[in-house]
Amino acid sequence: MSGIMGYFYNLVVFPGGLFALAVGMFFAGIDRKIYARMQRRVGPPIYQPIIDLIKLMHKETLIPRTSNQKAFRLAPLAGFAGMLVLVTCIPVPGVFQGIGQLDNLLLILYILAIPAIALMVGASSSGSPFGAVGVSREMVMTIAYEVPLIIVILTIGIKAGNASGVLADFSLKSIISLQKETGSILSDITMVPAFIAFLCCIPGTLGAVPFDIPEAETEIAEGPILEYSGISLGLFKLTGWLKMFAVSALATVLFYPVPYGSHWLLSVFLFILKCLFTILISVTLVRATMARMRIDQAYKFYLRIPTGLALLSLVLTIFHVHV
């Protein structure tokens, strides 16, 4: 398949759209199940996210009278669309190469911010005071986790650039092919801090405890999504699940794309397994063992520990490459 039809297929079926959604929901289900088990609960069935989604489609959608109606309606759609494009951009090692120039890490980083922005737009158009607090918190959080994220990506870019003889190469294709030759980036001890920094950013991007501050249920009653109901809420949930998949896939591609299987099915299976592993250690385990931080604490945390770790890797890499 090629051309427009190919892109369409990538967007709707694999690796974007249906595949990403299915995997994202599966991750969300597993996450809830394991989380429950960690608390000695039975927990919901793994397919619970699908049921939730179907239910939300059956619910009435209320639009607050005080809201900016257009922005309120379009925000979840925009977030979802952005996320859909993002998952299409991420290659599945051994199966899917990524689309043309779209596999650029910097581009992905940009698109990753879209759902957060959509959430902010939606929340601030809802006219609820909790939404407003949520927005300001979401903004702070985005700034906080973007810093270490950018440094990590820069580090990897420099490493990949070194192999292909340029200053920095942000193409995921080359990052995968580099690791295919030299083994996983993670096997290089200087990259371990960067990996930890990246893991720290995952709960931040996904809005999971301890970084679910913008949606803190016990403080601002789910903040930004407070006013959403029905299918609009469903879209936010969908975006969240896609994000879960996207972030974990990104971690997999960046840090351990290899080994992948000889058959495409095996490759996909391994890929999902690695992604799941990423989610389990960075989201499930963390949210089961930590209390929510305060926004100022989270901000400080991100600017200290992950940023520090990422910088350490960056310095070591530059040192390694240029000296």
């Binding site: 000695r40 609960r41 249920e217 403080e219 209390a291 305060r294 926004i295």
Partner: protein
Amino acid sequence: MSSYKIPIGPIHVVLEEPIYFQLEMEGETVRGVDIRSGHVHRGIEFLAMQKNIYQNITLVERVCSLCSNNHPFTYCMAMERIGRIKIPERAEFLRVIADEIKRIASHLFNTAILAHIIGFDSLFMLVMELREKIQDVKESTYGNRMNIAANCIGGVRYDISSEQAGFILNSLQAMKKPLEEITKIYLHNGSVRRRIEGIGVLTKDKAVEYGVVGPVARGSGIAYDVRADCPYAAYNQLSFDVITENTGDIKARAVVRIREIVESISLVEQCLKALPEGPTCLDYMPMIPGGQAIAKSEAPRGELMYYARTNGSDIPERLKWRVPTYPNWEALKIMLAGCKLADVPVIIGSIDPCVSCTER
């Protein structure tokens, strides 16, 4: 940064009960607090003057279900003082047992809720699971999980057989180890400490000025405990420590509560050991002559005081009570001043507010 207002409540997930706070915010910092209450005002004081003294035992138990035993307990004490009724000795011990079991459950609940507010659900569930043990004790001994209905004028309404005593002792024994674990978490876990240490400080001077009671006072270094200072029931025959902490922050109050649970467990054990034989209550329906009396007891949240006046009929002329949260409430303003928005629920939770008690 411009300031804006945030309403918390009256119907809000974090607040167990409806109460309305209007926070004047500047960014994430609280600049002013306006508390509006009255949502749980059910006119119980008025109702108490309509119902007879027996119905009032049940009625005052429903003032609040978390300290539900202390209300009828203190009410019965006040009535017994008016009637100069001496209750059987076994009943005195049984009253202490009921009271301490309620205290354990109430303190555990607040400890759990604190974890819930700071978003630590696993810890919340850990503590709540522990609380289920004491809930089972309540349910099998008294028949209800919240309103245990242990007291009546002239004694108690239940008895503890030796099997039941064994069950209680076993359950309490099984609680000791997990309790130690939980204490350690609240004392040392970094992620918990980050949210509770040095926040919502109430200094000793301010605590005296506002006349706070209970764990809030003890967390600020005031060693006032009605059980020790004005012993009632069988407390003068039992030994226990009055737990105090000096830092006056959320952590201090939480730690006071957890340590008090340990004391309460020991109190129940002492009671079961020393439980004298005999009747558990008067064998007639007591009539109360005209008169007035004050009775006080230490509820889980602090000093509870009852004033009763009767006129010889079985409907009291006036019944008035002052619940522990009442004086503590005003001190919230000191604790909340200048804190972050995210700290507001934690601080409110840390005084273990009982809105339904306060508003009656």
